[in-house]
Symmetry: C2
Subunit: 277 residues, 2 copies
């Protein structure tokens, strides 16, 4: 979204597709692929640096739009590479039931961390606690004072904040950060549609706590995809990680599904079903 | 200063002193020391982790409150360790004629970078360009639009921002950052005395440019002091680096000198002369 606002680049749809014709030696008719496929039923693809052949069809194909695709890599890179988690650390995830957040929370638990997530409905909070195994979760819309809420969940402070929302939540997190804390700046969905962003007024905590706030975009890390697949596939097949998707039927439902992201209407990864085969 | 606001810890004066009596085996009568000596004429020192014996007296002793002391180490760590500069990179320094900034700018030139500094008077801007060797410098008080000013000095963007001021300048820097830029969050002097800090409303640039903003305090890096001395002493003695100090005479001038920092009354490192021997 930032791309749209700042650089006037249109949003590229990421999806799963079947090759119906190909002049590229790596892709042949019948191959399944994921990557930059566009918001359309049929695509002519000329850019191959972001198109991957699907090898493993033992899992729902839609997973390649999420846990096995860009959001999965985003969670993996943003948590393991950017935050360098250590066992026993305190981790906070915002937009925690979303495509990326739900994975970050589970990665944190697998790393032996204590993890708390925030989301915007009771249903999502229940999912975080009962399905994704977060230690605690809260509905940020029900909190009068986010800084105090975080203090309640993290009396000893936060080592790692995986930020999907920016703005007021980031401001509430900063005073709660621990020395040498890390903030993975992954998304700022609370800010994208504001004419004027919310001001973060307490960045001096970054100095006093020696915090590292690292922004990232996932594409330069795609060479790590095979390594990620090696980690994530067994976890999925052994049922050690779970992944929730929210399907909207038909390409015509795509605009509403997109807009719904900004009010949190989706529960889990928002997927638009263009065709089932 | 943040310490004062957040943790109610009093400011400790850093200075140069002569030992007049000692029960510590590392320090004996007549030794010169620098470190946490207090805002006073005579000090009883019981904390030795931040007290260093002065070995080299070939340079003005006051340098041990600055270029050879905490500000020097701050510039060294914040620039070399935090920003990892590469030859040819574009570097911006705010409060650039201050104790730390003047050194960062010179380190940047020694590293083969292009460096621009901001300061608050014509006199300081002249110093930056004519004494410290900055490629360019500007008076931020004379700029209506800081973001546009930075765009003018950095048409290709900023790789490294050494931030001594925070607030509105930080906000102006963010849209000008280059991909994989680094911000060394060293100080936020524009913010310390505000009841409510200036809001930074465009932190999403941290994501889109994959910027790393790293806050730091220098004390955990003091094991690197000998390495720093090895680098800086020859530079001083060969006249390859220059250092400007602003002396206030007498302990009674200290409060006004401290307050003057916030309006930029000092030119160069503010030193309070308690005694000349």
């Amino acid at each position: 979204m930032e791309e749209v606002r700042n650089q006037q680049v249109p949003i590229t749809g990421l999806g799963v597709a079947k090759v119906i014709d190909s002049e590229h030696s790596n892709f042949k008719k019948g191959d399944l692929v994921w990557g930059g496929t566009g918001w359309e039923e049929y695509s002519i693809i000329n850019a191959f640096e972001f198109l991957f052949k699907i090898q493993d069809t033992d899992v729902p194909l839609s997973y390649y739009t999420g846990i096995l695709g860009m959001p999965g890599m985003t969670a993996y890179v943003g948590f393991y590479e950017i935050c360098a988690p250590k066992k026993g650390e305190y981790v906070f995830v915002s937009a925690a039931s979303g495509a990326v957040g739900q994975l970050v929370g589970q990665f944190a638990k697998l790393s032996g961390c204590y993890v708390v997530g925030s989301a915007g409905t009771k249903e999502k909070v229940d999912l975080l606690k009962n399905k994704f195994g977060f230690d605690e979760a809260f509905n940020y819309k029900e909190e009068q004072d986010l800084e105090a809420a975080l203090k309640r969940y993290f009396p000893d402070g936060i080592d790692i904040y995986f930020d999907n929302v920016g703005g007021k939540m980031l401001e509430a997190v900063l005073p709660n950060m621990r020395l040498n804390g890390r903030i993975s700046a992954c998304g700022m969905i609370s800010q994208y549609n504001l004419e004027q962003g919310d001001g973060v007024r307490n960045l001096f905590h970054i100095i006093t706590k020696s915090v590292c706030m690292q922004g990232f975009i996932v594409t330069p890390y795609f060479h790590m995809y095979p390594k990620y697949m090696e980690m994530i596939m067994p976890l999925i097949k052994q049922g050690k990680i779970c992944y929730i998707e929210d399907f909207a039927e038909g390409l015509e439902s795509a605009p509403a599904a997109l807009v719904g992201l900004f009010s949190g209407r989706n529960v889990g990864k928002q997927v638009v079903v263009v065709a089932r085969e």
